[in-house]
């Protein structure tokens, strides 16, 4: 068991190195010095308290979507609908934040609960379709992503139209924001907000559920082998729906931390990249909550540093996204690349 986990982290590290290497090559292609580029990229995410705060703030929604995808993976489900669940969670939070004028602690609590319920219910539909009709969750969550996209596209301008722009909602008031002055001041005015604490709490909760509870045992059993679990008396349909709902609730919370934490309003016509980035986070974190935390902070760093790098060099900021995308590709293939490599070694050895 230990050996396997170590192996997974080594492979994750290899994927990261290969991803960075690909990024370096691309910098070279664009006639830039990669070493300089990487120095600015990492300095951009770490060089001051404010930037560290921004790194954590950028990582926050990624922790949630990464947890969402990882939790689903562990229970045998592939949630590529985190983006849509995030949108719906964010929409619920924004709707409450813009509608009620309650004191901050109460308002935030209700907003967060609404985001969880919204994201959870949105995803539970995919779980239900899977349990009841055997509709593959990959397909249904893709469809649900775009349904969420168009829902936000039409609902936000209709009910929460911004003062100047047709394409975004009004800004939320101070009471409805996860940003708090002491934290903002502590990090010299960064985007950091209460979401990061929430994220860490949920990392612990999810780890606890997966490893210590009968619920986790049950959901993982269904994930590994739904037939054996059913034969052993576990209610498989309930488990699938429940697992999907929890995954959706996590992504919904991620939406809240993004739209009312990192940002202060909601734009339309954007499917948040956090959904797919969350898959990268989960893969890189070997689907363990702790790994997800680390991977999300790393990606947060890349996203935060890219602007600084772009300002200091000629390297376009999309290099960060390219690196992340390449890391996904290499984590999807790394175990097999390794196997392939061993086969190759054997062949060469045998020839001699």
């Amino acid at each position: 068991m230990n050996l396997k986990i170590n192996n997974e982290y080594v492979l994750a590290l290899v994927a990261v190195v290969l991803g960075l290497l690909a990024g370096g090559i691309l910098m070279l292609v664009a006639k830039n010095n990669p070493i300089e580029g990487f120095i600015y990229l990492f300095r951009g995410g770490l060089m001051s308290l404010e930037r560290i705060g921004n790194t954590l703030a950028t990582a926050t929604p990624l922790i949630f979507t990464g947890l969402s995808v990882a939790f689903a993976f562990r229970t045998g489900l592939f949630n590529i609908g985190a983006a849509g669940q995030m949108l719906i969670g964010g929409l619920c939070a924004i709707a409450i934040g813009l509608t009620f004028a309650w004191p901050k602690p109460l308002l935030l609590t209700v907003m967060l609960v609404a985001a969880m319920i919204g994201g959870g219910l949105w995803a539970s539909l995919s779980g239900w379709l899977k349990a009841k009709f055997n509709v593959h969750e990959v397909v249904s969550t893709i469809m649900m992503n775009w349904i969420a996209y168009w829902t936000v596209y039409y609902v936000v301008p209709r009910y929460f139209k911004g003062d100047f722009m047709e394409t975004e909602s009004r800004r939320i008031p101070y009471e409805a924001s996860l940003k708090v002055p002491w934290l903002t001041d502590l990090f010299n005015g960064s985007y950091i907000n209460l979401g990061i604490f929430l994220a860490i709490i949920f990392v612990i909760i999810i780890a606890f559920i997966l490893n210590r509870t009968t619920l986790g045992y049950e959901l993982k059993a269904v994930g590994f082998n739904r037939h054996a679990a059913e034969t052993a008396g576990i209610n498989v349909n309930r488990s699938v729906i429940l697992a999907m709902t929890i995954a959706g609730a996590l992504a919904g919370l991620g939406g809240a931390t993004f739209y009312v934490g990192y940002a202060s309003n909601m734009q339309i016509g954007v499917l948040p990249s956090h959904g797919f980035d969350g898959i990268a986070v989960a893969l890189l974190g070997a689907n363990s909550p702790g790994g997800v935390l680390g991977a999300a902070v790393f990606f947060g760093l890349l996203h935060t540093g890219k602007g600084f790098m772009n300002a200091m060099t000629n390297i376009p900021p999309e290099i960060a996204d390219t690196i992340i995308a390449t890391i996904i590709y290499f984590s999807a293939t790394s175990i097999l690349i390794q196997r392939y490599w061993e086969k190759l070694k054997k062949k060469l050895g045998g020839a001699k």
């Binding site: 009968t214 034969t231 008396g233 576990i234």
Partner: protein, 511 residues
């Protein structure tokens, strides 16, 4: 030099095992040559080498006296070698013709020439009395018919060396007889056949010579007519085997399970089990004999609660459990050794200890208030693993996947019996196991019976049923054909009943 195939000293190693250790096999023209061995003895590997699926590490293959190198199945085809695989290689939504010409298509103008191919198939079908409709879809024809499509596929490609891999496993006794006739016709037309099997009776019935292998090693090639069945068995297993389990006579006790006119729909939505009534009592083993696909699956799934009964009722310890959930039935004292241990029995990615609490994880002392107590779970696993002799390299923390088939099955048996159930439903409990593990499982089943528990044994192996059951219920086409006492019947009678022939008098169980 009358051999059509000579495999000389074929050696094939896989990481950790020598699947074939210098095996030699010689096939005469026009003979049916049996290849006999236990599961995992290396039969399939040897034939895969001949069919070009594997390359041997050493050894040579001579075909009609000439040395050949069979790099892939295409070359095997070109050399006239055909194979009917145990799992048919047919595309379910293609027609018979499309399946047969696949990879071998001729075109007329720009399009695939289906018509002349269908004509040729029709002609082959008539020549060998196979009765295959070239235009039928695979999903719409019976398993026996699908096997004939595989046979025509070989003939269509002009194969004259035919390999049959466990061809009777999926057939009814009637179909087995027809297949044997077809095989004899093929020989009469000048083909040569290698028959892979572990069934001694079939070898006696049809084969001319037999090559026996055990654990990758060649034991001997013998003339079937000159060798007794007992001797073949001994060669296969490596020691004297009686295939008889020691069992004292016992009087059964009260009825524990009673099925009343149970009808169940199968996956296609038609009745797979019809008006099925049966009683199982304490202290007896009731065997369900039947050919695969005659309602056993529906019976078991309904019994354990995976499927709903259409009509009828199930009583367990006088409780009507027809609508009880799977978990409630388990709680009431039902246990189940499933047919497919990888699919239904174990969670292969869970450790042994996690698998051993699969039915009871939610109960104290293994968990409290939804929290697992790992100390108790370890203790429990150590106890069961010790009692049931489950051998794993890394102990209870090893994943179930890493165990051998025999040890996986022992873990399941341990998990089920350790709960001290009143009824044990064992479905094909020895499938794919070696003789040692088979004997162990049989002993445990009889032990349950001797302790005054009830056992329902569902098996496709008639020998197994006859060996350890007290009473035998025969099922055909979803219907109960009859129930007989095991010590008052024989193979012929059961075989007839499995084919649906009712016995004059149905014996009532003697008290």
């Amino acid at each position: 030099m009358e051999y059509v195939v000579e495999m000389q000293k074929i050696r094939k190693e896989f990481p950790g095992v020598i699947a074939c250790d210098d095996i030699t096999l010689q096939l005469k023209k026009g003979e049916i040559h049996a290849l006999l061995g236990e599961n995992g003895a290396g039969k399939s590997t040897l034939m895969s080498v001949l069919f070009g699926l594997y390359q041997p590490d050493s050894g040579v293959i001579l075909l009609r006296g000439k040395k050949v190198h069979i790099a892939n199945p295409n070359i095997a085809n070109d050399l006239g070698i055909g194979m009917v695989h145990q799992h048919f290689k047919l595309v379910h939504n293609f027609t018979v013709t499309e399946n047969i010409i696949l990879g071998f298509e001729t075109t007329k103008g720009l399009v695939v020439d289906v018509r002349s191919a269908a004509n040729r198939i029709q002609q082959l079908s008539e020549q060998y009395k196979l009765n295959v409709n070239p235009h039928a879809k695979i999903s719409e024809i019976s398993v026996g018919m699908q096997q004939r499509v595989e046979i025509i596929k070989m003939l269509y490609r002009n194969a004259d060396i035919l390999i049959f891999d466990e061809p009777t496993a999926v057939l009814t006794p009637q179909e087995v007889k027809e297949l044997m006739k077809i095989m004899k016709d093929l020989i009469a037309e000048g083909k040569s056949i290698i028959l892979i099997t572990h069934k001694l009776k079939e070898i006696k019935a049809i084969a001319d010579r037999c090559t026996v292998i055990r654990r990758g090693k060649l034991i001997d090639t013998v003339s079937v007519a000159a060798t007794s069945q007992e001797r073949l068995a001994e060669m296969m297993v490596g020691r004297k085997v009686s295939f008889k389990t020691e069992k004292e006579k016992r009087a059964p006790g009260e009825t524990i399970l009673s099925l009343e006119k149970l009808s169940v729909r199968n996956h296609q939505g038609v009745l797979g089990l019809k008006n099925f009534s049966l009683e199982v009592r304490r202290g007896e083993i009731v065997g369900i004999a039947g050919v695969d696909g005659n309602g056993q699956e529906e019976l078991v799934e309904t019994l354990i609660g995976l499927k709903k009964a259409e009509t009828g009722a199930i009583f367990f310890k006088d409780l009507n459990i027809t609508n009880l959930s799977i978990r409630d039935r388990i709680k009431e004292g039902m246990a189940h050794i499933p047919e497919d241990r990888h699919k239904h029995g174990l969670i292969l990615d869970y450790t042994i200890e996690e698998n051993l609490i699969l039915l009871i994880y939610y109960q104290e002392p293994f968990s409290k208030n939804g929290l697992l107590d790992w100390d108790r779970i370890h203790q429990h696993a150590e106890k069961v693993v010790g009692e049931f002799d489950v051998r794993a390299g890394q102990g209870i923390a090893a994943s179930a996947r890493s165990l051998s088939g025999g040890n996986q099955q022992k873990a399941i048996v341990g998990r089920e019996i350790d709960r001290d159930p009143d009824l044990l439903i064992a479905v094909q409990p020895t499938r794919g196991l070696d003789v040692g593990a088979i004997e162990y499982i049989h002993k445990r089943l009889v032990e349950q019976r001797n302790k005054g528990k009830a056992v329902l044994l569902v098996s496709l192996e008639l020998d197994e049923i006859l060996d350890i059951s007290d009473r035998i219920a025969c099922i055909n086409n979803g219907e109960l054909i009859g129930i007989v006492n095991a010590d008052e019947t024989n193979e012929n009678e059961i075989g007839l009943m499995m084919a649906g022939v009712k016995r004059g008098v149905t014996l009532e169980p003697k008290d």
